[in-house]
């Protein structure tokens, strides 16, 4: 792989994780447990889709095969998607939605914070915008984790169950592969070792305040999203998300 291909791949990972989580959260439109939560979830989704677009546009310019951001989103199949497995997991109980958001937000926050200093100017610019939004998202999701964990017996049980359920997808957030490593060496991506430390540091700190227990760092983990090997859920998300542009490829106004 050339340096540019590595960057393309890395950009698609960032874009796809933002996009798929944005789409997942959008499923809660009209179904969130309270109107304030609905507003919050939709706004987080909107931020993520906006950030995804910024990453896709850059990726599309580098790929330069005539596909634009829309085509990358709507005309790639599951095995071409590079998102983290965490973000494709179903909304499930609202505690699961919150736990998934929290695990992602901690990763997202530290990743964006690091990318602000990327040697690639375009990456740094997109991250500088995204890090402000990611900070806000993390503020919200960590508050919910604390409120549920240190809340009633019922809320504690549910958020603890959610932590247990999703723990197997956290390894992928902090385990680098050759792309992550190459991006770090190129002065673009975060230091994998530092990211791992930061992620566990914050997750354990918030979990302690929330009176929750976390899993082991060396527990068996599901991985593969970054290589296009997904859980069964991604195909269903794409089926919903891609139906219209695939059925009416020339539609310009929806």
């Amino acid at each position: 792989m050339t340096q540019q291909q590595v960057l393309q791949e890395y950009l698609l990972r960032l874009a796809d994780s933002d996009m798929i989580l944005g789409q997942r959260l959008s499923e809660l439109t009209g179904k969130a447990p309270a109107v304030e939560e609905e507003l919050a979830v939709m706004n987080v989704a909107l931020d993520l889709v906006g950030q995804a677009r910024n990453w896709y546009e850059y990726a599309a310019e580098l790929i330069d095969d005539g596909r634009d951001a829309d085509k990358l989103v709507f005309l790639r199949d599951a095995h071409d998607y590079r998102n983290l497995l965490m973000v494709e997991q179903p909304n499930d109980d609202y505690a699961v939605t919150i736990a998934r958001q929290f695990f992602f937000d901690v990763w997202h926050y530290f990743t964006m914070k690091s990318l602000v200093n990327a040697s690639d100017e375009r990456v740094a610019n997109i991250a500088a915008k995204a890090v402000k939004e990611a900070t806000y998202h993390l503020r919200r999701s960590s508050e919910w984790v604390k409120r549920m964990g240190d809340g009633t017996e019922e809320s504690h049980r549910r958020i603890q169950d959610a932590f247990n359920l999703l723990w197997r997808f956290t390894g992928e957030l902090v385990t680098p592969d050759e792309i992550d490593q190459a991006m770090f060496e190129a002065g673009i991506g975060p230091d994998p070792e530092q990211l791992k430390q930061d992620w566990f540091g914050m997750v354990r700190e918030v979990a302690a305040q929330a009176t929750l227990t976390t899993g082991e760092e060396d527990a068996w983990m599901y991985m593969g999203g970054k290589r296009g090997e997904h859980t069964e859920h991604l195909g269903h998300i794409l089926a919903v998300m891609q139906f219209l542009p695939r059925a009416y490829p020339d539609a310009t106004t929806w």
Binding site: E36, N43, D47, R53, N54, N125, A128, E133, L138
Partner: protein, 185 residues
């Protein structure tokens, strides 16, 4: 002589003509800033795009005007509309083919909302951002937000997010009115 229907050729030729309102001389940058100060944010029509601080710069390159605009949030759905409104206002003032550039850096901050803009937000019923964005802590305590309706500082946050990405939802505990707070970022 009967007036005939304009043909497509006429339309083509017309579009190539100098508009009737075209200025013989280029508008000064000050005049353009003043003009853009009349373009309102479609989601917060109390303030203009200039007061909101999203028009970053403008410059003439020969006879071509170039305007840099920055989005408030990555996913702000008003971004395209705002760019169109700016272009429309410029064209209406006789400026031909203005170039609108979307710039991401430096990232927009609420610190760029002018004092006048903040006052207008408050008068509109939206509490303006408190303090400086650069000093906001990640997991720090909530700021004290004054109710834009009665001025009481006895308020509580209902939700981190309000009717748009740039706002949070608060409630005044004295006058009991809910209100939007323009988040500090």
């Amino acid at each position: 002589m009967n007036e005939r229907e304009p043909s497509s050729v006429d339309v083509l030729i017309a579009s190539d003509r100098v508009p009737a309102n075209a200025h013989p001389e280029l508008l000064t940058e000050d005049a353009i800033w003043a003009l853009l100060d009349n373009v309102k944010d479609p989601e917060v029509p109390a303030v203009s795009v200039v007061e909101l601080g999203i028009v970053r710069s403008l410059s003439w390159d020969g006879k071509h005007l170039s305007v840099d605009v920055t989005p408030t949030y990555s996913g702000c759905p008003a971004t395209e509309l705002i760019e169109e409104l700016i272009e429309e206002a410029l064209r209406a003032a006789g400026i031909r083919d203005p170039q609108i550039n979307r710039v991401l850096t430096p990232a927009w901050t609420t610190d760029w909302i002018t004092e006048e803009g903040q006052e207008k937000l408050r008068a509109f019923g939206i509490a303006p951002p408190q303090g400086s964005a650069s000093k906001m802590s990640l997991l720090g305590a909530d700021e004290v937000i004054a109710c834009p309706l009665c001025g009481s500082k006895n308020s509580e946050r209902i939700s981190e997010f309000g009717s748009t990405a740039c706002k949070a939802l608060y409630r005044c505990l004295d006058c009991r009115e809910p209100f939007d707070y323009f988040k500090c970022i």
